[in-house]
Amino acid sequence: MSGTDGEIQVKLKVNGRMREVRVKPNERLIDTLREKLGLKSVKMGCLTGECGTCTVLYNGQPVKSCLVLTAEADGKEVITVEGLAGSDEMRRITEVFARNNAFQCGFCTPAFVLLAYWLMKVKPKATDEEILEASNSILCRCTGYTQILQALKEAISRV
């Protein structure tokens, strides 16, 4: 069994690098990423699991980091938008998001960019329905989604 009465030592891979953090039992993944590791692309929206702006890839799956305790992340892998910088995928995502005007204020954009990346890596053959279903997890208060959905479709159309 692992665990303790006090602080917990957690080793996790973040954006390809092994990181070690000491966390209190009540620290959430969103707190660790933003405050300890400085990854501010992970947005703090509702903290209630509704808005999805805190989305990260956690062991390869998109999850809402406001509902994960960092203590459980020992040995796990986390990817945020910062980790995509300079990659071919990110170049393509930037292009399709810009071309489609798939953002206004940009608050939801890191989450949708991670979703685009996940679709390219894991579900390059996703149907329009599957893209829509995955997109349901993230709220955008500005665009009305049409442009974002189009960008997501184009992101995987030539992978």
Partner: protein, 293 residues
Amino acid sequence: MKVESPLTFRTTLPELEGYFRPKSLDEALSLLSELGERAKIYAGGTDLLIDMRLRNIGNKVVVDIKEINELRGIREEGDSIFIGATTTIHEIKTSSLIASRLPLLKQVVERFADQFIRTRATVGGNLCNASPAADTPLALLIYGSEVEIASVAGRKRVPIKDFFKGVKRTILAPGELVTGVRVPVPQGRQRVKYLRFDRSSEDLMIVGIAGAVFEGREPGDFEFSLSYGAVAPTPLLFKGLQDAYKRGGADEVLKIVKEKVSPISDVRASKEYRMHLVEVGTRLIIKELLGGV
């Protein structure tokens, strides 16, 4: 879920004294027995972390059960299917065994939250959280499932209809853990339908109604059941409605149902609207499953 005023919105979780991640069920049970009321079980966290942040619960130690292998997975065992407590809603939704044997459960999890939440949310958490608006109990009730419970004192099975005690209350005592749910597979043909009224696809239901017709051995012999979510402090089950239906169609069924439902008004809908949905939804399900109205 409480509605928060922006002025009192809390952003942090309360202080905790410990976090434990047992690797076996025995370890977990002795830990839970030792910690008693101080402990709270942590599965997907999609209810727990919100309740902690809102200060709805004051437990000081979390026991993470996600690394206990025996609590995970979907298996066929004789005439029933066992679903381990930490099996995620996503795993249930994508299981071919569930799709072919328990189509009502499949329909129910298809309407559950959103994809990112389903990746984390577990069926054990959905049952133990005991929300009147939980989705999975509606299918599990109709199939006549049993909840499997373990503690240092031993193991027991409880019919799911006896598991819920009220809003956010179950029969579980401190030290007890749900290991999974056993669902009997109907032996004959089944026709099923889930109707979920909601504000948006990822929101909790306003009202949920599940219906099933299980055909018997003799032609014309069938059992008809309905279950309702978010219209009473616990999910409601009505079994053996076929006689009422044969006697007086949907009107007769609704008479029985309306005696038990007691919806409230909340952020999602008024009680009058919920009653309206019970009426309309019940008629729609009866029409689809049995043809008559």
